[in-house]
């Protein structure tokens, strides 16, 4: 269980909250590049960390993210005209450049310098891979651009999607560091999903319902090792890195692309589940990309607003027959929706004072404590971890080790992302 005040601390990320201030020390994915496909394309509404913003790509290709509302009398700039080097409010013609600086207030005399003093709140918006990233904190504290391996390899080695998840970000994150549920919830998919099947690890996964967790501190967060029985004298280890505040990676299976997530708060009741696949040493095949687009693996089939087609309004297309036949353990199709259906079912922000944790929740306990400490320490002026490029050069690992070997020793440097070096996988 978690005390109420700590649950509030960890789940509230709006401006001025302690966790919100922590999040504002990290670059976060905010849009897929396809959402701003061309210069002067329509502006896009963005809500992130409970702030309502508008994103544009101007006539010169500059990306910008700024307050959604005109400084004049507060109308939404989503109705604006994005043309000729900026976004013009359709109400009285006020015009802003991509940084949010007003550059024209047509009602004022030509000699007036009024607009020089009008600036909307604005954040940088930077393209890395097929994703646009923002940093919402004080510019004085802006860390270097992120160097996640998934976004330093070529774009043809990566596929990224996002889906709306209608619950607090922490519920989603906690699913990402909980290897224990895979044996149950995803059991029907391990041997059928084209992006998961064919791994010897799936047999170990299915064969041991009582994984043992060992959690160790690592550069920017934690390495969460889940141990299951393998051949005589050996354990199968799945090692999930978590980097503060919201990056997790799924341990690999066979030579499939590796996957991971960013769990980005929209507001306290909703988040974006960013899901990526990449292969460190080769381009993704057409078949793989097709499967990802179709919602296989960690991805989902979504509508134009990135809300999954199977959602809480249609009971996630529950299929009791498939549940009975054992094709899907919960009756929900697709690994991503299996997770989000259950995490949304807990309610927007689950009351963690009522939960009953068990030993396989060790990773969750450690992550909560690290988040809590980081948020409280930041309020006292202590710089957070996880936003330095060296913290981000990390990978998940799947490995079989002799029983007497601690996993941290056994994996050596396998969790370090090294360009051109294949992943360590089973």
């Amino acid at each position: 269980m978690l005390r109420k005040e700590i649950n509030d601390l960890l789940t509230q990320t709006g401006p001025g909250t302690k966790m919100g201030e922590l999040f504002r020390r990290y670059w976060q994915p905010v849009l897929l590049a396809e959402e701003l496909p061309a210069n002067d394309c329509p502006p896009v509404r963005v809500k992130i960390l409970s702030e309502r913003l508008i994103a544009i790509r101007d006539s010169d290709g500059n990306y910008g993210l700024m307050d959604e509302f005109c400084a004049h009398r507060g109308v939404s700039l989503w109705f604006g005209r994005n043309e000729e080097g900026g976004l013009r409010c359709p109400y009285h013609g006020w015009k802003y450049d991509y940084t949010g600086q007003a550059i024209e207030v047509p009602s004022e005399p030509a000699t007036s310098n009024f607009c020089e003093n009008v600036k909307l709140k604005g954040y940088p918006l930077v393209k890395l891979g097929d994703v646009l990233w923002t940093y919402m904190g004080d510019p004085a504290n802006q860390p270097p651009l992120p160097e996640w391996e998934a976004y330093t390899v070529s774009e043809k080695q990566n596929f990224t999607s996002k889906r709306l998840q209608e619950c607090n970000w922490l519920q989603a994150l906690e699913g990402g560091i909980d290897s224990s549920h895979v044996t149950f919830l995803h059991s029907g998919n391990l041997n059928t999903d084209p992006l998961f099947k064919g791994s010897k690890g799936n047999e170990y996964n299915a064969g041991d319902l009582k994984p043992f967790f060992e959690v160790v501190d690592y550069e920017g967060g934690l390495l969460i090792g889940a141990r299951r029985n393998a051949e005589e004298g050996h354990y199968y280890w799945r090692v999930t890195p978590w980097v503060l505040p919201n990056f997790t990676m799924v341990p690999p299976r066979a030579d499939h692309p590796m996957h991971g997530h960013f769990w980005v708060p929209i507001d306290d009741d909703n988040c974006w589940a960013w899901s990526f696949d990449y292969h460190p040493t080769r381009e993704l095949t057409d078949t793989e990309v097709e499967a990802m687009r179709a919602g296989k693996g960690v991805h989902s089939a979504n509508d134009d607003a990135y809300r999954p087609l199977a959602n809480k309004d249609n009971d996630y297309l529950m299929d009791r027959e498939a549940q009975r036949r054992g094709e899907t353990y919960s009756g929900i199709h697709g690994i991503a929706l299996q997770d989000s259906s259950l995490q949304e079912s807990m309610g927007p922000v689950v009351d963690r004072t009522k939960e009953r944790l068990v030993a396989t929740d060790a990773g969750i306990i450690k992550a909560r404590q690290k988040l809590r400490k980081a948020a409280l320490a930041l309020a006292e002026g202590v710089e957070p971890i996880g936003n330095r490029p060296e913290d981000q050069k990390v990978r998940s690992v799947a490995i079989v080790l002799p029983k007497d070997q601690p996993f941290v020793e056994g994996i050596g440097e396998a969790m370090v992302a090294k360009p051109g070096v294949p992943q360590t996988t089973v």
Binding site: V358, A359, K366, R368, Q369
Partner: protein, 107 residues
């Protein structure tokens, strides 16, 4: 058999003979001492066997482990210098006579 004394908030003492190697949570639960829940069965996961170890026993009992320390921060209402999870205190002959205070609630 080492003895453990559990003291509730009104000062009522309950002495229990613990088996060697048993822990402070399990001996309480086995002997029906109120106020110690031990929901997770002694897995260092739930923080419902919180006790305050009396100061004179602190050195002998020792400091909480890493995960236990996190659970004491996250899950207990009134953490004090003597706070420990009962399931993580193994009874030894040296701890004979250990006195712990039981918090009014584990939730």
């Amino acid at each position: 058999m080492p003895k453990v004394v559990y003291v509730d908030e009104s000062g009522v003492e309950r002495a229990v003979d613990a088996a060697l190697g048993d822990n402070v949570m399990a001996s309480a639960v086995r002997n029906g001492v109120p106020g110690i829940v031990g929901e997770c069965g002694g897995n260092n996961s739930c923080a419902t066997c919180h006790v305050w170890v009396r100061e004179e026993f602190l050195d002998a009992v020792g400091a909480p482990g890493d995960l236990e320390d996190d659970l004491l921060d996250l899950g207990v209402e009134d953490r004090r210098p003597g706070s420990r999870l009962g399931c993580q205190i193994e009874m030894t002959a040296e701890l004979d006579g250990l006195v712990v205070d039981v918090p009014p609630s584990q939730y």
